[in-house]
């Protein structure tokens, strides 16, 4: 208390009484000690402050970029005198440099804190697994891992950093800047790069230190979930509730069911592998087209009649035609009695029935002769 009073003239005894009254301090036998709750709070606060979270580092880097942008804008301001422009520009660059310097120190402190914490945490794992999970998760998820995002070359912050560097190059080359400002800008580019590299390097080391612990935490979380699941199984069994194994696990026991013997399934599997995929309907290809060439086309009566005069007995005409020598009686009759578009056929009702035959045919046809002629259209 004397020390505090010496420093700033505060009434120490009054503060002391207030702390005692509010239960923060306990005075016993002329000895002062902190209550457990306050001690734990201070320990927590000390732990929390020893590692600056990645989000705060990102924020500080953004501040640096803002200072540099403001420095550039002041240098190119039209509303101020040259002296004012230089003063403001240098002031903003100094602020950027100070923040970068702070970041350098913070990065060192973070690394030291992470190394110390990881040693302590390793010992804590089995004794106090919950605290281990909470602390490792906090350090990894809040202090270390988010930095990977903004370190990435494609991140917004990385792009802003490249933009800020370009502004500093512009200041360095600007005819509006004096020698002092140009030199300051040149030095600041280097500091910005060095600090960024230093943060990245220490971040890699912190990741290397904490990743094994975080992997442990992931496994522990998995184990915790398995334990919760096992509790659920016990709970269901004790309540006589079904475990739902058939619905979810669907473990099989494939039986032949009188359809296949083991050896036939085996044979089926072996053969199936060699089967080529085929469509359901496939017209088999012919070995040669010789057979096709030998097939006779149906007689086209119109084509036979078109070149000549009307015919009195069309069936005799077809049977005796030079080009139809190989055609049978049946094929010739089919040609005459089928519908023949373009040909008009008329039975000679007054004539006596004739007998028609052809060499090699076992049948004969009896009927009245028919006239045939091609109908001229148009």
């Amino acid at each position: 208390m004397n020390h505090i009073e010496t420093l700033d003239g505060t009434d120490g005894s009054r503060i002391f009484a207030k702390l005692e009254k509010s239960g923060i301090l306990i005075v016993k036998e002329n000895r002062v000690r902190l209550t457990v709750a306050v001690r734990k709070f201070i320990e927590w606060a000390r732990d929390a402050s020893s590692i600056l979270p990645a989000s705060r580092i990102e924020q500080m880097l953004k501040e640096v970029i803002d200072w540099i942008t403001e420095a550039y804008n002041y240098l190119h301001s039209e509303n101020q005198s040259e002296r004012e422009r230089f003063a403001h520009t240098e002031d903003r660059m100094e602020k950027a440099e100070d923040t970068l310097s702070d970041l350098w120190g913070i990065s060192e402190e973070n690394l030291r804190a992470v190394v110390l914490a990881s040693s302590k945490l390793r010992l804590m794992k089995d004794e106090n697994p919950i605290t281990f999970i909470v602390q490792v998760s906090k350090i990894w998820e809040k202090d270390i891992d988010p930095m990977s995002d903004f370190r990435h070359a494609g991140s917004e912050l990385s792009q802003q950093r490249r933009g800020a560097k370009q502004l500093l190059y512009n200041i360095e080359d600007s005819s509006r800047a004096n020698y002092s400002v140009r030199k300051f800008a040149s030095a600041l580019v280097q500091t910005l790069d060095d600090t960024w590299d230093h943060l990245s390097y220490n971040h890699d080391l912190m990741q290397g230190e904490m990743r094994p612990l975080y992997d442990m935490v992931q496994r522990m979380r998995g184990t915790e979930r398995i334990i919760h699941g096992a509790e659920a199984v016990v709970d269901r069994l004790n309540r006589g509730v079904d475990l739902g194994v058939n619905d979810n696990l669907r473990i099989c026991s494939i039986r032949p069911r009188d359809l296949f013997s083991d050896s036939s399934v085996e044979a089926f599997l072996m053969d199936l592998w060699n089967i080529e995929e085929e469509t359901d309907l496939t017209i088999p290809s012919r070995d040669s087209i010789g057979e096709l060439l030998e097939m006779r086309q149906p007689i086209e009566l119109l084509a036979l009649l078109k070149s000549g005069e009307p015919v009195n007995d069309v069936l005799t005409f077809v049977l005796q035609h030079d080009e139809l020598d190989k055609y049978t009686l049946q094929e010739s009759v089919e040609a005459v009695y089928s519908a023949n578009p373009g040909v008009q056929i008329e039975v000679q009702r007054d004539s006596e029935p004739q007998t028609y035959s052809k060499n090699g045919s076992i049948y004969e046809l009896s009927g009245r002769p028919m006239n045939a002629e091609v109908i001229q259209h148009g």
Binding site: L237, N246, C252
Partner: protein
């Protein structure tokens, strides 16, 4: 793919066996995964290969192809109860190693009936004493969730399928209580 692989896989898996990483068949299954899945699909069997988890199995399509429900329930129960039992007996690191399959436990140390709520649960499954429990461990080895070597139980990668199922039950219970 070698013609024999499909036959061996079918023979091994058709009775509900799970093949885990480390088994002689795991590499052939992984190498021929696409062909095997396609082949078995053509004849009506669903081969599931969980490459990331390290195990493979046939999933029953028809109810007629399901394994005996009572046997599977017992397998699920004893594995989960063993985890709960070990939680209080060994360190968390050792429990993690047991779950990962890098640590085994002596069969003779399994005394699930010593804990009242476990005993009650086991009686629901008609497992009246430790002998019956150990018999379940022995009989259900064939599903490939665990193995017994030199009278010690060791979990195989496929046991995670059982634990996943249990975790889903836990989620269902949480869901119920949230609804309540």
């Amino acid at each position: 793919m070698d013609d024999g692989v499909a036959k061996i896989v079918f023979d091994n898996l058709r009775k509900g066996r799970h093949i885990s990483i480390g088994h002689d068949l795991w590499e052939p299954i992984l190498t021929n995964k696409v062909e095997l899945v396609d082949l078995f699909d053509r004849i009506g069997f669903e081969l599931i290969v969980r490459s990331d988890q390290g195990y493979a199995f046939f999933k029953a399509g028809d109810d007629e192809d399901l394994a005996d429900k009572k046997v599977i329930q017992r397998a699920v129960a004893v594995l989960n109860l063993l985890i709960l039992d070990l939680k209080d007996k060994i360190s968390s690191s050792d429990l993690e190693r047991f779950i990962e399959g890098s640590k085994s436990m002596p069969l003779e140390d399994i005394k699930l009936h010593n804990i009242a709520r476990f005993s009650s649960a086991l009686k629901q499954l008609k497992l009246k004493d430790e002998e019956a429990v150990v018999a379940v461990f022995r009989n259900t080895q064939r599903f490939g969730f665990h193995t017994i070597e030199e009278e010690r139980v060791r979990l195989l990668q496929a046991s995670h399928r059982i634990f996943e199922h249990s975790m889903n039950l836990d989620s269902a219970i949480l869901g119920q209580s949230e609804e309540e």
